[in-house]
Symmetry: C2
Subunit: 320 residues, 2 copies
């Protein structure tokens, strides 16, 4: 694990050329924003730089990669991964380059596997985009072309400065990005103040059909395939749906149960009141973090609900 | 209009004593947060300071004023208003002090009426709380007791850094406030990630019953008294409900129509697609800003909807 500082990462980027930048699979705003921002920054240095195609970015994030995707047959000298913590998180196209060898990994996940030649890791950053900003700022003036995707990276990974990973540094970097003259209002509207019609229908149906227990401290939303149909919803409309329940006043444990097309159910448990979500999900063979965990249950939505409620009660009884 | 800088305002506060701080009526997070933060800051200087009672703060903001409200019979030497733009915006209790004379007004509204002996106005600030922060920072270390209400002021007035009034300075001040060690995650959860059950019911019913026109570019939500009953909603649950429609993908003009208990309807028009909301509402005797305006219409919800749609079309026809 050859760790380097962000100043050393800047020196590395200045010394090399012909870059290919890799994003993680099921890409979010952070990995896409880091890739686009870094690519713009390298080009401003006069380097050749492209982002590896096949990112799988949704319509929400794909536009930030326009003009940056590598043309067919592009052969890089230097491969850089951004926001990729583990070997298992490379895209299909990226896996080829993982085999060839990643030269530099830039990341903020404590679970970083150190798969690269050198790794610039800062697990104290809310978003990997913060680290990319600090690296680019070492290399020259950060322009609006870099600042737009970096703002997307930083703001989306911190829930627009609302999540607990937000730090004073996050805000300071947001300030610096704003000073390049970018229209953060439009970016915020796009990423935080826009809901698809189908998403609104999903939320309406959840409110109509969710179950509440223990004076509303537990909220359970069974999400059947037919509910998805009724709402006209696709996977893109379901992002972070577990958080929708968690925002209800008085709810401490929110549980979404998704019916799977291939049978069985996938459950997501979020807690804010002290109950350990991992302990609950472990009883059903799952895992995760103390405040957010998941598991799968064979059987119907009703059976899954019964199983998870029993698990919640067992953990409550054991740990008070 | 005796304008002073924030450095001069700091000097003013150091020189005087026995403060009474006034908030504006229908108080929001900014005026309450400014009052609590300033009161804490003045007390840290060894001054006597209280906030004028009768603020009318809702359960969301009232807790920040705990321990700061003036006891009965308190006679101040120095009266300071925070975030109050105009004479008409004083609370009932505050009006007495307006008559006696306000010594210092601290504000960020361009519509400031300069009713005070001296006025510290910076209309470039997203929140008045930013200005209070800069003043307090001149007077000594900003503590967590000051930072909590100031963070509430700054974050709520800028829609948690999402509105167009957010600047680089807003973020820099948020960073400084975070560095006092306050739990902004809990504050963000309270103010931006919590919805009452009744509010969720209102939103569910709006999605179910709203009308969409012009391929979804116009969304109209009639809100009857019976809908409010059905949702179990009070006025507190209706805050910023117009924004709920405005977030729907593709919606450029969102219109909420509230049925009034005393008869007639109150309309709110929000636009993001270039249509001038003030022109629309002016046709029905109302007014406001280009992107947000309001008016009242006599008659039923259906009549009000017909009238406002006709007004929208008339403005569209005249201005393209």
């Amino acid at each position: 694990m050859n760790s380097i500082t962000y100043q050393e990462a800047a020196a590395f980027l200045r010394e090399h050329d012909r870059y290919l930048i890799l994003t993680h699979k099921r890409p979010d705003g952070d990995t896409v924003g880091c890739a686009a921002g870094l690519c713009a920054g390298l080009r401003a240095l006069g380097k050749q730089a492209h982002v590896c195609p096949g990112t799988g970015a949704t319509h929400l994030f794909a536009p930030y990669l326009e003009g940056y995707l590598a043309p067919e047959g592009y052969v890089p000298d230097t491969v850089v991964s951004v926001d990729i913590a583990a070997r298992g998180l490379f895209t299909q196209e990226g896996e080829t380059w993982l085999e060839r060898g990643v030269d530099l990994a830039i990341d903020h996940h404590p679970s970083q596997e150190f798969f690269a030649g050198v790794t610039c890791l800062d697990a104290g950053r809310g978003a990997c985009g913060e680290l990319i900003y600090d690296i680019l700022a070492q290399l020259g003036p950060v322009t609006a072309a870099m600042a737009v995707p970096l703002y997307v990276a930083v703001s989306t990974d911190t829930g627009c400065f609302q999540y607990s990973n937000t730090t004073a540094t996050t805000h300071r970097i947001a300030a610096a990005l704003m000073e390049t003259g970018i229209d953060t209002f439009a970016l915020n509207k796009r990423h935080f103040r826009t809901k698809s019609w189908a998403r609104l229908q999903v939320e309406r149906l959840l409110v109509e059909r969710m179950h509440r227990y223990e004076d509303g401290k537990i909220a359970v939303a069974p999400i059947s395939l037919s509910l998805m149909d009724e709402a006209g919803a696709t996977e893109e409309d379901m992002e972070d749906i577990a958080a929708f329940l968690g925002q209800i006043e008085g709810v401490e444990t929110s549980i979404t149960i998704r019916e799977k097309a291939e049978g069985g159910c996938k459950l997501s448990v979020r807690t804010s009141g002290g109950l350990n979500a991992t302990r609950v999900c472990a009883l059903l063979g799952g895992g995760g973090h103390a405040a957010a965990a998941g598991c799968s249950v064979q059987g119907s939505l009703a059976q899954a609900e019964e199983a998870i409620l029993a698990a919640v009660r067992q953990v409550e009884a054991a740990h008070g």
